[in-house]
């Protein structure tokens, strides 16, 4: 699974951290930070959930 992040569009809502805490974190300013890139296979569902939940549509899964 490949994940790409458009970090400049991140609005720091933190939805990805809730959906996939093993894969996404936020820096001090709230912007998304990948923790596991590429994410492990068992996180695939959580990552898809994060991509769906992201209000700024910053996460794309390929």
């Amino acid at each position: 699974m490949r994940v790409s992040l458009q970090k400049d569009l991140c609005i720091g809502a933190g939805q990805c951290v809730l959906a996939a805490p093993a894969v996404f974190d936020q820096d001090e300013d709230g912007t998304v930070v990948p923790l596991a890139d590429p994410p492990p296979a068992e996180e695939a569902e959580a990552v898809r959930s994060a991509a769906h939940a992201c209000p700024a549509r910053v996460i794309s899964v390929g």
Binding site: Q26, E28, D29, G30, T31, A56
Partner: protein, 408 residues
């Protein structure tokens, strides 16, 4: 004689609820039959009401739909809300790039981790309030004793606003969120609250503390990134949004749980994953921001097969999206074990609620603690005697008298 097709008068929005726990039946009918359709609002204009989950998310994620109250066609919630939004501009009513510039100054304060560090404060506040509530003669108004003071005390501590002034700002924020209030009343409440916060920001300049407003002064005003007036607008937004929304989720959410004793028992059990899922489900089912998210189209955009023209208003009805059976199985049922619950109770798109981690933290602590403290907690009056907040921007209950079993 020629016959012309009569133009049907669009239904008036918001519609009246038949049941206090569900959106109006007419909203459901529109979602099924005409999911993007014209409605008539208080000022006589006819914006588009968007009612399906996918369409609501599409609108809210598309910045061609503006949040700027001054844009042609913007469908303000009421004359009072319109007056307030014009008089007290904050980033909720701005578009990018201004919106993003302001929001980015605050998101570090509301990260998931930063919010988690507030857990001890929220837990202590909950314990304090429940201790006090326990000593009161029954019935007790849950709103006054617990639902309102909890988020109010937490946001005050976070911002650095003295909670001792709560009667003052609660009274004014109530006036600001009453859709039946006129422009003058809203303007008056707005001016009072802004004046108060301007003095507070000035006080933080003289004597900074360990709070959000002091950090704004030090890191944003002193660096020239933000004017004092903009900081007042931010403080205003955080203070009003920070206590009304969560307060109403506590009140209405508790009442809803009490009507589902089996699910309430699971929440009382306190398993963190169960409680977290229950909070999401209550957010979805109750959608206390219940009269849509307002936007104005700045370009022609097609939504759900309907062409919305530049200069037309759009209301993205989150309260309908959250009951869309295409997205949520048995949408009108409370199911705290629901999976994949990507509701839009906090909105969607770049304006999605900034304080949502704080709201979640407060609700996840409040419901189980309340249910554990008061065995046999129940409403002290029948539902038809409970005053629901139909006329307010944020739905919920004005009061909720409760009783509980006491040890003999």
């Amino acid at each position: 004689m020629t016959t012309t097709q009569p133009t049907p008068t669009p239904p008036t929005y918001p519609m009246a609820r038949e049941c206090p726990f569900d959106p109006p039946a007419e909203v459901r009918a529109l979602r099924e039959e005409s999911p993007v359709s014209r409605v008539r609002i208080w000022d006589g204009s006819s914006p588009w009401l968007v009612t399906r989950y996918d369409d609501v998310r599409t609108v809210l994620a598309d910045q061609r739909f503006s949040s700027d109250v001054d844009k042609p066609g913007y469908p303000a919630t009421s004359i009072g809300v319109k007056a307030r939004r014009k008089a007290s501009r904050s980033f909720i009513a701005m578009d990018d790039p201004d919106h993003a510039r302001h929001r980015k100054m605050l998101i570090g304060e509301f990260t998931v981790r930063r919010t988690e560090s507030l857990r001890p404060l929220v837990e202590e506040t909950v314990t304090e309030l429940l201790d006090a509530m326990e000593t009161l003669p029954q019935p007790v108004d849950l709103v006054e004793a617990f639902a309102l003071p909890l988020p109010s005390m937490v946001i005050c501590r976070m911002l650095g606003v003295p909670y001792a002034d709560h009667a003052f700002f609660q009274e004014h924020s109530r006036a600001l969120l009453d859709v039946t209030a006129g422009a003058d009343a809203a303007k008056h409440a707005n001016d009072e609250l802004r004046g108060y916060l301007a003095e507070l920001v000035a006080a933080k300049e003289r004597e900074p503390g360990d709070d959000l407003l002091s950090r704004l002064v030090e890191r944003r005003i002193h660096t020239g990134e933000l004017t004092a007036d903009d900081a007042v607008g931010m403080a205003f937004l955080l203070l009003v949004a920070g206590h009304e929304t969560t307060a109403n989720m506590i009140g209405l959410g508790t009442l809803t749980l009490l009507r589902h004793p089996d699910q309430a028992a699971e929440v009382r059990g306190g398993d963190p994953a169960t409680v977290a899922a229950a909070v999401e489900e209550l957010l979805r089912l109750l959608t206390v921001v219940h009269t849509g998210r307002r936007r104005a189209a700045t370009e022609d955009v097609e939504i759900g097969g309907v062409l919305i023209r530049a200069g037309e208003g759009v209301i993205a009805a989150g309260e309908s999206a959250n009951r869309d059976p295409e997205q949520f199985a048995n949408p009108d049922e409370l199911d705290i074990h629901r999976r994949g619950n990507h509701h839009v109770a906090f909105g969607f798109g770049v304006h999605q609620c900034l304080g949502q981690p704080l709201a979640r933290l407060e609700l996840q602590i409040a419901y189980p603690a309340l249910l554990r403290r008061f065995p046999g907690l129940r409403a002290a009056v029948p539902v038809d005697e409970i005053p629901f907040r139909d006329e307010m921007v944020v739905y919920g209950v004005h009061t909720l008298p409760v009783r509980w079993d006491t040890a003999v």
